[in-house]
């Protein structure tokens, strides 16, 4: 047995020793490694739905437009310019003279094929199907792409579909079964995917023929971490160079590391409460077990008055958020953001909240809990949050405290994410639930979550609703903004929609969490956020940050790596020697025992 162990120990030494030195820097290539905690679902853009995959597609493929790095307004990408007919139904795009990464010219035919495929092949609709739902026809003539719409659509310029090379993809028989794992990929973005290992990493190399010019780093590696805590360790250690989407505690833990830049900026998200104010299905039949008191807008407003948003920001988010005086669009989007002012503005005021409930006839019982005006039920609400989310737990604690002061009981219900989505999206078995969405530069999608059509059918099909909202005022405003091609006027309508949500309170916005990221300044010499003025890095829209990325000269990095390797080798050697010594000593002693 001892010999056995000695052999194993020797093997361990071999495995640990020189390996580290060899694994150091990859020659003098400039490589930047980005850590992510969501894995790629499919490399086929027609099928992929995950955020991380969308980010990677942005780097590999060209789109019609890209958000401008300063204003976030749609700006030319593969489409050099465009015109709209006066009725808003015909859009003509001029496709840029550029080349695919395999040297073939890019034409409008590629774009027409991509959209056409999605319009005619159900298998190709998984990823971005809704983007072409309003398309009547698509045609190409040289570099000119013409799209005819069924109805005017203001969000047309925020088209989320990557343009695919027809000459490569038309050969694929069944798009719905194709994994897109052919490397190098043929694309028109700043990078070319050269390798993907499931749940491990995606390797992207700079596209030398990119029309804006070759990116400054030679290789981007998107590295997947199953465990967020390990990704923080990875950043501190230098296994990765940049990480986005951090939660406040992880972000705080980066403090004090001289090599790491803590990137704290306005985020794309709004955190809000969705309130079950009498959920109905798409044929207007009531469903779920929502508390009847929440149907009363006065109760919802009273709850709104009983929330100290500043305190939530300070205590729950560690100060890394902005209290919400608006609704579901965060202030990052200056053009579309709306904030309440004057009498409309709800501020933390428990006395006022109590008065509203008193006036509305919800009397406090001897136990301090209010009852319905007819005395039928106490104001006891369930609050649904996700399991294993300390932030939501803390939030629930604060809300429970304040609501108690206005005679409302809150019981926290922790649900795993699929059960949570089911209750808040289909069965409506909740009273109040935590919610929030990331908002794109064009906010149409998040606005649409409050449309009547988003409610589930009687059989529980469909969904994507927020609070089961269905309001004629909101609905007509939505249709108006959809047709309004003048950006300023459209923004005006969108603000009215947010005002409606604020006053009617089917959702109560709590705060806008900051975007928290971290990167190593000993590896990354420069990176342009989007928007350029204190914007986002990994979490932003478009390829801008990764296109402008500059790596620190690799020489220093390589030597650092081999030092680590050397230390590792020595340390491992010491450990194994110690174990070996122990064995020897024991053996000697054993023999000595017997001699006596």
């Amino acid at each position: 047995m001892r010999k056995w162990l000695a052999v194993l120990a020797a093997l361990c030494l071999l495995a640990v020793g020189p390996g580290t030195a060899v694994a150091a820097g990859p020659g003098n290539k400039k490589v930047i490694k980005i850590g992510v905690t969501q894995s790629v679902d499919s490399m086929n853009p027609f099928l992929a739905v995950r955020l991380v995959t969308g980010q990677i597609q942005r780097l590999i493929y060209g789109f019609l437009t890209v958000p401008d790095s300063k204003t976030l307004q749609p700006s030319p990408d593969l489409a050099e310019s465009w015109t709209t007919s006066p009725d808003g139904l015909t859009w003509t795009f001029k496709i840029r003279q550029a080349k695919w990464s395999d040297g073939q010219p890019i034409t409008a035919d590629d774009a027409a094929w991509t959209f056409g495929k999605m319009m005619t092949d159900d298998g190709a609709k998984t990823g971005n199907g809704p983007a072409v739902e309003n398309f009547r026809s698509v045609s190409a003539n040289g570099q000119e792409l013409t799209i005819k719409l069924k109805a005017p659509q203001a969000s047309m310029l925020d088209n989320p579909v990557p343009i695919m090379p027809k000459h490569v993809w038309e050969k694929i028989k069944d798009i719905s079964k194709y994994d897109g794992e052919t490397y190098p990929t043929v694309g028109s973005g700043p990078y070319v995917a050269v390798e993907h290992k499931k749940d491990q990493f995606v390797r992207l190399e700079a596209n030398p023929d990119y029309w804006r010019g070759r990116p400054k780093v030679d290789e981007l590696q998107i590295i997947f971490y199953d465990n967020p805590a390990a990704s923080i360790v990875g950043l501190k250690k230098g296994d990765i160079d940049l990480i986005g989407r951090l939660n406040p505690p992880d972000f705080e833990s980066l403090k004090g590391d001289g090599n790491i830049v803590q990137w704290n900026t306005q985020g794309r998200r709004a955190a809000y409460l969705q309130i079950n104010h009498g959920a109905t299905t798409s044929d207007n039949k009531p469903i779920g077990g929502g508390h009847p008191a929440l149907k009363d807008p006065r109760v919802r407003t009273a709850l709104h008055y009983a929330i100290d948003k500043q305190k939530l920001v300070d205590e729950v988010q560690g100060g890394l958020a902005k209290p919400a005086d608006g609704s579901i669009i965060p202030p990052l989007y200056k053009d579309f953001f709306w904030a309440a002012t004057g009498a409309e503005k709800v501020t933390f005021d428990l006395a006022k909240a109590n008065k509203i409930l008193d006036d509305a006839g919800y009397k406090k019982g001897p136990d301090g809990v209010r009852t319905m005006p007819d005395g039928s039920r106490k104001l006891q609400f369930r609050f649904s949050i996700h399991t294993g989310t300390p932030i939501e737990d803390k939030l629930a604690e604060y809300l429970t405290g304040w609501f108690k002061e206005i005679g409302v009981t809150l019981t926290t219900k922790r649900l795993d994410s699929s059960k949570f989505t089911e209750e808040t999206g289909t069965t409506a078995l909740f009273d109040i639930a935590i919610s929030g969405w990331s908002v794109n530069p064009d906010p149409e999608e998040v606005l649409a979550t409050h449309l009547c059509s988003r409610r589930p059918t009687a059989t529980g099909e469909g969904g994507g609703t927020e609070s089961f909202y269905c309001d004629p005022t909101y609905e007509s405003l939505y249709l108006q903004q959809q047709k309004e091609l003048d950006r300023t006027k459209r923004a005006g309508i969108i603000k009215k929609m947010q005002e409606r949500l604020y006053v009617d309170a089917p959702v109560i916005a709590l705060y806008y969490p900051n975007d928290l990221e971290g990167y190593r300044k000993d590896r990354i010499a420069g990176i342009t956020p989007i928007p350029e003025d204190k914007g986002l890095l990994y979490g932003g829209s478009g390829y801008w940050p990764f296109y402008t990325l500059e790596a620190v000269s690799t020489d220093a990095k390589a030597s650092g790596g081999s030092n680590g390797g050397l230390i590792a080798g020595v340390a491992a050697g010491v450990v194994v020697l110690a174990i070996g010594g122990l064995f020897l000593a024991r053996r000697r002693r054993g023999v000595a025992d017997e001699r006596e």
Binding site: M1, R2, L5, L8, C12, A15, V16, P18, G19, V22, A23, P26, K33, S39, D41, L47, V49, R50, L51, D122, K125, T126, G129, P130, E133, S176, K177, D179, K198, D199, Q200, F201, R203, Q221, I223, F224, D226, N227, A229, A230, S231, V233, G234, K236, K237, D239, S417, S418, E422, T426, V446, A448, S453, R454, E461, G462, G464, G564, A568, E594
Partner: protein, 340 residues
């Protein structure tokens, strides 16, 4: 004359073994069939809408969701889905993963290597360490060696795997104080994995922490079983006889006591081999080790029915098979079981 007697005695024994093995195999097949049925319904009982969960934070319209549901065959009635599942499974086709849009068998094939490498190495180490330490501890129960090693193994056994793994990660991957961060934080190899022997070393280096975690939490059971088994043997007459013959104490332990004491660990080792196939979900998740455990974890997170079914089936079937093998091997090794 003597040979004839031998044959007479051996033949029924061999026949008995065959019959025993056949019964056991039959039982195993029955279990597997039940597992196939249970697998399907078990996962249908889980809450949540797999299609919506697939989007993971991205908003999808009802049309998109319906399309996806149809693509996955989830729009069909459950009995139809069940028949489809059974016929597919019998043809060794585990279906296509919702999430990855690829055959489950391919996904398993990609992972099984790294799982076997990690858990296999850990098993060998844990068994060697546990049995060796257990034998020594049991030989002189109550000695300092016994007390210390039993205490250490029990503490490690009681420690939550997740906590221990994270601790090792923090200390030996990130580095604390004078301890430099020497091991990688994730995966089974570097992205720029060097070729040849250097590549093997690279994998070895990635394996140290997850392997250490696994060994630390599982070796106690081997130690304890071996220890009590050796303690049993120590009191036996043949040990006294061996000692009386003037054999060295070490030799008595190694050549007489240990081989006999090993018997009860056979079942334990075989059972563990069954689990080795499934990987170690927690450890793989902590160290982002791309094995079957991580695949299963990912499948539950989505939830990806076909992937869950596939990996779950593979894991349960391998446990059943190994369990059966353990029974048969035990039957061969231990005459007392045979006669019983």
């Amino acid at each position: 004359m003597t040979s004839a007697v031998d044959e007479l005695e051996e033949a029924p024994a061999r026949r008995g073994l065959l019959r025993y093995a056949a019964t056991k195999a039959g039982g195993a097949l029955l279990s597997i069939a039940m597992v196939i049925v249970a697998t399907f319904f078990l996962f249908r009982l889980l809450p949540g809408d797999p299609v919506r969960a697939l989007a993971q934070g991205r908003n999808m319209t009802p049309e998109q969701l319906d399309l996806e549901r149809a693509r996955l065959g989830l729009d069909k009635p459950v009995p139809e889905q069940f028949l489809h599942f059974v016929s597919q499974t019998l043809r060794l086709d585990l279906g296509v993963s919702y999430e990855y849009k690829r055959p489950v068998l391919d996904l398993i094939g990609e992972r099984i290597g790294s799982t076997l490498l990690l858990t296999g190495t850990a098993l060998v180490l844990a068994v060697s360490l546990g049995l060796w330490q257990g034998a020594r501890a049991g030989w002189k129960p109550g000695s300092r060696f016994d007390k210390v090693s039993t205490a250490i193994s029990l503490v490690l056994w009681s420690v939550p795997t997740f906590w221990l793994g994270l601790l090792l990660l923090m200390v030996f991957a990130a580095g604390i104080g004078p301890i430099p961060g020497i091991f990688p934080t994730r995966g089974s190899s570097s992205v720029d994995k060097p070729g040849g022997f250097a590549g093997v070393l690279d994998v070895g280096q990635h394996m140290v922490l997850p392997c250490l975690t696994l060994v630390a939490v599982v070796y106690a059971q081997y130690l304890l079983v071996m220890r009590s088994s050796v303690i049993d043997e120590v009191g036996q007459d043949y040990i006294t006889t061996a000692r009386a013959k003037g054999l060295r104490d070490d030799d008595v332990r190694r050549k007489h006591a240990v081989p006999n004491a090993l018997l009860p660990t056979v079942t334990l080792v075989f059972l563990r081999i069954g689990f080795v196939v499934g990987g170690a979900v927690t450890v793989e998740a902590i160290f982002s080790w791309p094995g079957l455990g991580q695949l299963f974890y990912e499948a539950i997170r989505v939830p990806d029915f076909t992937l869950m079914q596939g990996t779950f089936l593979l894991i349960t079937v391998s446990v059943i098979v190994m369990n059966t093998l353990a029974d048969v091997v035990y039957h061969v090794l231990d005459p007392r079981v045979r006669s019983a």
